[in-house]
Chain length 95, copies 2
DNA sequence: GTTATATATTCCAATTATGGCATATAAAGA
DNA sequence: TCTTTATATGCCATAATTGGAATATATAAC
């Protein structure tokens, strides 16, 4: 396989390699959310959430949509759920 | 979800967030390989490969088995393929 | 024991990520 | 225009990651 493809995939995994960003992804699986809702649900500073959202957007995992003052984010890929379930299995085996 | 679960998942993604380690995973999808075979196929120093293998093993993605001087590594999870295919779709959409 | 071979570990400098705080922007209302 | 509100960006110190080079360990053969 092309070396750049590995780099590109590694970037996607890097975007997912942070607990806060994973929590955001999890929140978005229940549908589109504005930044304010995400800030409210998670216990982190708004700038931190904004930067996290930007990182996820950069690698193409989420997309945004403006509406007045609000910015709504939503998942851009659908196969995340299956992989997360798979990881849960691995993690549960450890106990 | 428990905060530690997010941390644990983030660690797994971090292990996958490197092109060399992804190449190793790819190699192992065709079956068990000894370190020497992996070093031969990929163009990296042996210590680098060893460290990469160790990181993948630490998070539970691969396992090892000794036989004489050789150490054989193999995948420990089976759902990787599906997720990789999913990522390929995302990456291909960009073109 | 000594040597050769396969693999792992250590050390290190350079780069990159993290998360907090302050500040900037942009849209809407008065 | 001035203010408020939602979101984004910049700066910074600390921490983590990267990959190379040298070295250590472990097993097997002699």
């Amino acid at each position: 396989m092309d070396n750049n493809l590995y780099k590109r995939k590694a970037e996607i995994f890097k975007a997912l390699s942070n607990p806060v960003r994973l929590e955001i992804i999890d929140l978005l699986t229940t549908g589109e959310k504005c930044v304010c809702e995400i800030v409210e649900q998670l216990n982190y500073e708004q700038p931190h959430i904004s930067k996290s959202l930007n990182k996820l957007k950069e690698v193409g995992l989420i997309q945004d949509r403006k509406e007045g003052l609000n910015v709504y984010y939503s998942l851009k890929i659908c196969c995340m759920g299956d992989f997360f379930n798979c990881l849960n299995k691995i993690i549960n085996q450890e106990k």
